[in-house]
């Protein structure tokens, strides 16, 4: 204690510019909470939605400005806050993705919340708070910071999942997600503690340097397994996926939009940075674990998804299968694999937001009409919506001229390049099997409606969101170069203090 008092406390230097995306997102939520609690009866009811979308866009802009800065001044990226927070292409790309997911989700959420009679302001505050946790995860250069980001992200999403008070399924989803999420966080934290014991630090740059020199790898190996359980849960990889179908089914559809995009991005940000960058020296130890996880996720996601009869559950299994494909890129443990995984995340973020926006609209009042039969005849009553959903589903299936095709192509290419032929073949087969899942939904939409169904009302905001995601998916599927260059430049680096 005496030593502590005598030493002058050294305050780490803070690079405020590098933190702007995070500050905008978290500060935006707090400022909005204050403004709204004072002026809620004087401002138009759409204010929260528009404000949150603008904050999401501002976060993307701030990330783009920092992107220009690291390309000009720091070619490698840099770290701030005593090496606890890294700013590099990787963190900025994923921050931008989280910002875009927030902007798109918040934009159409207002009409959904109005339809469901939910008091809307808290929804948007929690969305922004959760996203700031995700941004912390994207830049975390320290395992404790990663844990704090993960918890900030998750705790807000637990509430969001349970926020539809008139739907029993919603609260049930919240409770299930909460208990299993807390369980997984405990595993992650135990992994962090063991890694700290093995290497003497929680800083990822320090861990990278010291794991290769370890004489006894037993403790680090156990830590790796526990870290993989915790992060595998967040990205919904089999065998840690059991919550996914239930939570996606029960949670309000805009929340699922956000979970399938931003939460998955944040989870993979942690996973890729911890394993592919910090623990790259132990790659031969963790690639077999990734191999098993990737195979199980792709196969089980595709096969079990086919036999579902609820579109939300089908897309939940499809998101499990997508997590498997991204893990194929991570398993390659190469630069190509990293770029492929980042490309997949970028493509899937937009596809997921758009797909669940369609589901939010088709679910009608009560958010319950998500069965396959509720989509029958949609092509007749809402041809444009059905066409947009068809394109997004075909992109998920990996049809050429969409980003979904290129995403699958790149991860399988990265696997082949590292001579993981078995994994490549399993990925191709499960992509073919999975295509049947999406075709079932498309066929239902273009079939005839059975009996009388309530008409689907498409709000203009949802139409715009679906339009943006479809245009993104098709445009970058045809003119692929800008996006490919972007993910190539977004390589992660670890800079110590």
């Amino acid at each position: 204690m005496g030593v502590l008092l005598q030493t002058a406390v050294e305050i780490p230097s803070v690079d405020w510019g590098g933190l702007t995306p995070l500050l905008i997102m978290s500060g935006g939520s707090l400022i909005f909470l204050t403004i709204w609690s004072l002026l809620s009866d004087r401002l138009p009811s759409r204010t929260p939605s528009v404000f949150t979308s603008l904050i999401g866009v501002a976060t993307m802009v701030a990330a783009a400005i920092q992107w220009g800065r690291i390309n000009d001044d720091h070619p490698q990226g840099f770290s701030t806050l005593a090496g606890a927070f890294g700013i590099d292409g990787f963190s900025l790309l994923l921050t931008g993705l989280i910002g875009s997911a927030v902007a798109l989700t918040a934009f159409y959420a207002h009409d959904y919340l109005e339809r469901e009679d939910i008091n809307s302001a808290e929804f948007f505050v929690l969305l922004m708070l959760s996203a700031s946790g995700g941004i912390v995860m994207a830049g975390a250069n320290d395992l404790i910071v990663l844990f704090l980001g993960l918890e900030a992200l998750s705790i807000a999403v637990y509430i969001l999942a349970a926020s539809h008070l008139r739907r029993v399924e919603s609260q049930e989803a919240g409770l299930k997600y909460f208990i299993l999420g807390a369980f997984a966080s405990a595993f992650l934290l135990y992994g962090i503690a063991l890694m700290y014991g093995a290497t003497g630090s929680t800083n990822l740059a320090h861990i990278r340097d010291s794991v290769v020199a370890l004489e006894d790898r037993g403790l680090a190996f156990g830590a790796m397994a526990l870290l993989l359980v915790g992060l595998g849960f967040k990205v919904a990889a089999v065998p840690f996926h059991s919550w996914t179908p239930d939570v996606y089914h029960g949670a309000p559809s805009p929340v699922v939009s956000y979970m399938a995009s931003a939460v998955k991005v944040a989870g993979f940000a942690g996973l890729l940075r911890v394993f592919n960058v910090s623990l790259a020296g132990l790659a031969e130890d963790w690639t077999p674990m990734f191999f098993v996880l990737a195979c199980l996720s792709m196969v089980i996601g595709a096969v079990v998804g086919i036999v579902q009869d609820n579109v939300k559950r089908m897309l939940a299994y499809s998101s499990i299968s997508h997590a498997g494909f991204i893990l194929v890129g991570a398993e390659a443990a190469s630069t190509e694999g990293m770029s492929a995984a980042l490309y997949y995340l970028t493509a899937y973020t937009f596809i997921a937001v758009g797909s669940f926006a369609v589901i939010a609209v088709v679910a009608r009042r009560g958010d319950a009409a998500t069965g396959l039969e509720d989509f029958r005849g949609l092509a007749k009553s809402q041809p444009a919506l059905a066409l947009g959903f068809t394109i997004l589903l075909l992109a998920q299936a990996g049809v050429p001229f969409t980003t979904g095709f290129l995403a699958k192509f790149f991860v399988i290419g990265a696997a082949i390049e590292t001579e993981a032929y078995v994994l490549g073949v399993i990925a191709m087969v499960s992509a073919v099997v999975g295509a049947f899942l999406y075709l079932r939904i498309v066929l239902a939409m273009y079939g005839d409606a059975q009996g009388e169904t309530e008409d689907v009302h498409v709000p203009i905001t949802a139409a715009i969101v679906v339009g943006i995601t479809v245009v993104f998916t098709v445009f970058f599927g045809i003119f692929a170069d800008p996006l490919i260059d972007l993910v190539r430049d977004a390589s992660p680096v670890l800079v110590g203090r």
Binding site: L4, I144, F147, L148, E151, I155, Y158, I159, A162, L165, V168, E169, Q171, E172, A173, G174, L175, K176, F178, I179, A182, F183, S185, A186, L189, Y190, I192, A193, L194, Y196, G197, G200, S201, T202, S242, D246, H249, G250
Partner: protein, 101 residues
């Protein structure tokens, strides 16, 4: 017999295992929360034991972060339970089964 940090680490591992098994076996959400707390505190013990062994303050400081997160988690968890309790009489994980898991 000297009480080395290994003893604390083993105790923490046992506590963590008890918490994990308890969470899987018990059906009352409140008890399940308690099991999560047990797991988190087992991790805290691990952090402190490693911190003492390495003669590094980082381990002890991590514990504060974990405590804060655990408190925040419990607040949200209890709020969700209360929201469910309003609609039904008992809280039992087996009764909360509208969604087929």
């Amino acid at each position: 017999m000297e009480l080395t940090s290994t003893w604390y680490l083993v105790l923490a591992a046992i506590l963590f295992a008890i918490g994990a098994v308890g969470l899987l076996v018990r059906r009352n959400p409140l008890v399940m929360f308690m099991c999560v707390e047990l797991m988190l505190n087992a991790v805290n013990l691990t952090f402190v034991a490693f911190g003492a062994e390495l003669n590094d303050l980082g381990g002890e400081i991590s514990v504060f972060f974990v405590l804060v997160v655990a408190a925040a988690e419990v607040v949200v968890g209890l709020a969700i339970i209360v929201a469910i309790m309003r609609r039904r009489t008992g809280v039992n994980a087996d009764d909360i089964s509208v969604l087929r898991g």
